[in-house]
């Protein structure tokens, strides 16, 4: 057990930051959403299915999903040089793989769905916030999907597991140091759609982290679902 009873920002160990959800934030997109874990904000816009160019990239048996993740230059304290970089391209790719598992690509052959994830303000856990926003935007855009998904980050500070990591916890240096794991679970199949691990963790602890992640994800999924159901009663 930890020497602390609370976290830096006063949260319980298994508590996420305050979640904020908004739908249809971008009028020009087919579907768009904003998802925020406290001061980590992610915006996602979905365009399509639409015709894919160049034509040689078209796949006659299934559709293609393209995901682009980027942080805005003012999202972090040290200015982030705009445009793609190693980290952004990696996150784009893993998000694409995670989302390709839930989008029903077989139902729109020869076409493409574009997902753009932007981070206007970052305080760790941006890829999971981005994934949640993307799932909302995809559903709102009416893209056929097998299921929904929810994502959360699990951290380990020394020996304590925490849900929804902030920057200070990511940089924790005492004892065993900090570990940061991103999880994304399918809402129905409970399949793991994404895991990434930065740091060190024992197999037993990882199992526990996964359980924590699954619990947090099912809570987040309920919130995503509620937001989608409320979004229309106007």
């Amino acid at each position: 057990m930890s020497k602390y009873t609370k976290r830096f920002d006063g949260r319980k160990f298994d508590e996420t930051r305050k979640i904020k959800i908004e739908l249809d934030i971008i009028p020009n997109a087919d579907g768009s959403a904003l998802f925020a874990f406290g001061d980590t904000i992610a915006m996602a816009a979905v365009y399509g299915p639409k015709q894919l160019h160049p034509q040689h990239m078209q796949n006659p048996s299934k559709g293609i999903l393209r995901v682009k993740y980027d942080m805005m230059s003012f999202s972090v304290t040290e200015r982030k040089k705009p445009g793609p970089n190693r980290r952004g391209m990696e996150i784009s790719k893993v998000s694409e793989w995670a989302l390709a598992d839930i989008v029903d690509l077989d139902s729109f052959p020869n076409t493409v769905v574009d997902v753009h994830i932007m981070i206007p303000q970052a305080n760790a856990s941006t890829r999971v916030a981005g994934l949640n926003a993307a799932v909302l935007a995809l559903a709102r855009a009416g893209v056929p999907m097998k299921e929904m998904a929810a994502a959360v980050s699990i951290g380990k500070m020394d020996k304590t597991l925490v849900v929804d990591v902030i920057k200070e916890e990511e940089d924790y240096e005492e004892g065993e140091g900090a570990t940061d794991i991103a999880f994304c679970f399918g809402s129905r199949s409970k399949k793991v759609l994404l895991t990434q691990l930065d740091g060190k963790i024992s197999p037993a602890e990882l199992k526990e982290a996964m359980k924590l992640g699954e619990q947090a994800c099912s809570k987040i999924y309920e919130m995503l679902k509620d937001a989608l159901k409320k979004g229309v009663e106007k």
Partner: protein, 232 residues
């Protein structure tokens, strides 16, 4: 099951579902549009309203882009003229092709461009949906090139509301505005009136319908709307 019960069941409220949510459980139901059977449950495949009609469970999508189906009347703009037909943008992920052989009269190869040119608006019917494109036809009466009038773009999922039950809504708009209106299933509406003011009034009424598409008994409400707004 007697008739009364059947009517009762048909009136069952539509519920909003998200993808991957199970709508009903049990072997009594059949999966319809945008639903799938997974074990005992019927699972939604799309965000929309779930509707049970008899044994069939289906989803009515609330958003999303238009996917062409054979038999739909669509409105498109010509993007290219080829040696044997026209390529049209029909507001869908696939482009439409109108072959020369699907015109109401014989068109000589030389006059193909003068019959329908790039950028012109054509009302066509979807003949067949193939893997990589959509075949169109204008052989039926009422279809073909539209030389004037204006185009209004709406979300294609609102089209049933604009038409109304057995065309009640569209007939109301035609009657009240005096405009000739064609509603394409792809979410494009062509309006032609005697004056621009009439056309703009018809456009305004269509925008009102799309804005209030969740209201029950919309046709009656629109009758009131026309009384209030006519002549303004």
């Amino acid at each position: 099951m007697n008739e009364e019960e059947r009517v009762e069941e048909k009136r069952e409220e539509r519920v909003l579902v998200v993808p991957g949510e199970s709508i009903v459980s049990g072997e009594d139901y059949l999966p319809g549009d945008w639903t799938k059977r997974e074990g005992k449950d019927i699972v939604s495949n799309r965000y929309g309203l779930a509707e049970k009609s008899g044994r069939l469970v289906k989803i009515i999508p609330l958003s999303g882009i238009y996917m062409p189906r054979a038999g739909n009347v669509v409105i498109g703009t010509v993007t290219d003229v080829t040696f044997n037909g026209w390529i049209m943008d029909i507001n869908a992920p696939y482009s439409g092709f109108l072959p020369l052989s699907e015109t109401p009269r014989f068109i000589n190869k030389e006059e193909i461009q003068s019959f329908i040119d790039i950028g012109e608006i054509v009302v066509a019917k979807v003949d067949a949906v193939k893997g990589k494109g959509v075949d169109l036809t204008i052989k039926i009466r009422g279809l073909g090139k539209k030389e004037d009038g204006m185009l209004v773009k709406v979300n294609h999922s609102k089209v049933p509301r604009i038409i109304g039950r057995e065309g009640s809504m569209i007939n109301l708009i035609k009657q009240e505005t005096g405009c000739d209106i064609i509603v394409g299933q792809n979410g494009l509406v062509w309006i032609k009136g005697n004056s621009v003011d009439e056309e703009l009034f018809a456009k305004k009424s269509i925008e009102e319908i799309t804005r209030r598409s969740f209201v029950a008994g919309l046709t009656e409400q629109m009758e009131k709307w026309f009384k209030e707004n006519k002549g303004k």
